[in-house]
Amino acid sequence: MSSETRQVCTFTVAGLRLGVDVTQVQEVLRHQEMTPVPLAPSVVTGLINLRGQIVTALDLRGRLQLPPRPSGELPSNVVVRHGDAMVSLLVDDIGDVLEVDASTFEPPPATLTGSTRALISGVYKLSPHLLMLLNTDLVLRLEAQNPA
């Protein structure tokens, strides 16, 4: 058993507990004012001014084909680096940064279906909840998706 660990920035989206490797995360932010982008892919919620940089905000609920966020609830931002640009993933709530052990990692379970399965690289069996690790490269690859 290896005791390899990695740090994962966790958050919740529609009750799912998800995470991305902490090295990919630029910062986490509370809700930010957004400028909507008409005619953009539907999962692009808007643009955020992050200290003079323009960051595209992506709705994770929409991306994972989960039910839309109830109105009145404001999303938080997990800003991840994507190439030389930055993209904000809109999530429901931001959790802690957890140190997870590689030994608890498993590929996505067969019972998981749909978009979520396609976009996660695996699951950490933590108690009491499982933690799903998002594959940000795939999450941010939109061209095959609905360019609504």
């Binding site: 005619l39 692009v44 001014n49 003079g52 323009i54 061209e143």
Partner: protein, 739 residues
Amino acid sequence: MQLDDAAKEFLIESYEGLDQLDREFVALEADPQARARIAIIFRVIHTIKGTSGFLGLGKLESVTHAGESLLSLLREGTLTLSPPMTAALLALVDRVRAILKSVETTGSEGAIVVEDLKKTLLALADGTAAPAPPVTPPASPVVAAPAPVVAPPTTPAAEPAATPIAIAEPVAPASPASPVSGEAGASASVADTNVRVDVSLLDKLMNLVGELVLSRNQILQYSAHAEEPVLAAASQRLNLITTELQEQVMKTRMQPIGNVWAKLPRVVRDLATACGKQVRVEMRGKETELDRAILEAIKDPLTHIVRNSVDHGFESSAARAKAGKPKTGTLTLRAFHESGQCNIEISDDGGGLNIDAISKKALERGVVSEERLRRMSAHELEQLIFLPGFSTAEKVTNLSGRGVGMDVVKTNVEKIGGTVDLRSKPGAGTTVQIKIPLTLAIVPALTVMSGGQRYAIPQTHLVELVRLEGESARAGVERVHGAQVYRLRGRLLPLVNLGETFGLARTADAEADTGLNIIVVQADERQFGLVVDAVGDTEEIVVKPLGKLLKGCAVYAGATIMGDGRVALILDVAGLAQHARAVHAKTEQAVTAAAEALADGAAGEKQTLLLFSAGGETLALPLSSIARLEELPRARLERAGDRSVAQYRGGILPLIQLGESAPTDTGNLQVIVYSSGERSVGFVVEQVLDIVEETVRVERVSARPGVLGAAVVQGRVTDFLDVGAVARLKAPWLFEELR
């Protein structure tokens, strides 16, 4: 003596090269066999030799040439580097430096003696090491050198100490500005006042200045409301400094257009020779500066226009002589700044465009209809050469005339927010005028509001703003096949409603505004009107690229951060036009046809027409095609099965509803009765408007069922109803019964 730019650049480059040589020689001493190092030294000396010849510095050229001869043998491995050679080469470096110094301070090579060193170098190259020559300047400490020079080449390691002595101050007496004293004293040497900077660093600086401009805008906005004299004064100062800084940083990226023009005379010469023509190039405004990114972008279009001019613009020498013109044609390149833009003009004094040939070709290629052609102005005809796939060259030359041409020029210039125009005078020549922005990073833009969102439109795309109030706002917009148009000074301007296109909800403010804001913009070769809720200010915005996720959105040119810190999207006018066109595929065609109909209004015969409205549109019918107009009480409307009918003149009249919904607010139905043989049918319309007598020409402009075509009636574009087709469409059962 004022040094010109070429000489200055040469000095800077040469000093840099010489500094590198010092390092290379030191390294070479440790490893005399390193041929790569010799190659570097060779290149540096070779460059200096080439440029000095070009600049007419004879001594420098001859001495470097001698050095080069030796170095080339060393590089090939024919000779091996010996200490005398090193000494001589180092002496060369110092002598070159002294000459450069003299050039820099006095503008000439001065009294520096090079013959001795030249002889030594050549002797070493020949292998006939002549011992005496280097001693020629008697007072010179170069006397220290003879020892290594005469020393047998078999003792390479024996005399290394002699070399440093030799380089210590060999040329000191030869020139008052020796390297040592020069560096210490003359602090304003060109090498000292110039720094080479990585372009990416300049880009970064530009970005930072952009940020500063935004912060400045924010603070200015805030201080405008604050009643704090100290803050007001400070922000005023910040404003001035930021503007100045922005200008200066922008200047660092500016380069004279002469840099791009420099290669054109050669292009012209080669091409003219190949065509058997004589052309000379004149340049005015070489020093006009442009952002380097823009210079890069216009390089190819410029070359193309120049090639075109030489290939097609100028007549042959014989033809010129016959026309009484000087044998040699003149191609004039002109550049100047005007109202925040840079104008570049390329004129030739050739034969001008052959309008007939262009028209003929345009017809042949089917890019324009004959009718259309007849109505075009001379200027419009000239613009035809900007259409894709257009080339009037009688025969395809290997230089230009392959059909990819002016359209590419136009596209490339428009890509950077510029415009291309062309004027031609038969027999007198052609002028192509390019207008381009000075920089791409910070542009003036107009902010507009739609659906509660702000958008920026770069000023370069704006043509004019139109504001319609009250009645004219309601009546000003006409519909042609569902597409909105506005008649702007007799021209039909297609309208694109920004809010509708973007699917934005109208805000209460916008609802309350009864006026109409039309922003006339230029996209590609056409104009259209953008309908927005409100028009804001013009301000300088910093263009920031959109992320990869939005690469597919052609309707945006980027985004910017406004004074309040919010992000606003920058509209790409051409992309928006394309998008709107794709949505209403037929629209453009219809508008074009309607515009032509408008122009052709005079033709056609007089008719009596019935105008009525249905489904929000004004429609027309020839009065002769209908039987009666009736106003029936709503109570008479009855249903028979799934059909509407009314009792009429003791019979039953089937009714067809035109438009979406029946007007419920009025008590009576407006019915147009159409008869065919025994049977009649009634069309229920919203309102019968008028009966007019007018000369109309109905143009078949679309395949919309039920519509015959469109014509201008009472100055408005109106659709003509095809009664039979509507009946067929709305009530097929009736159609059978009617027959």
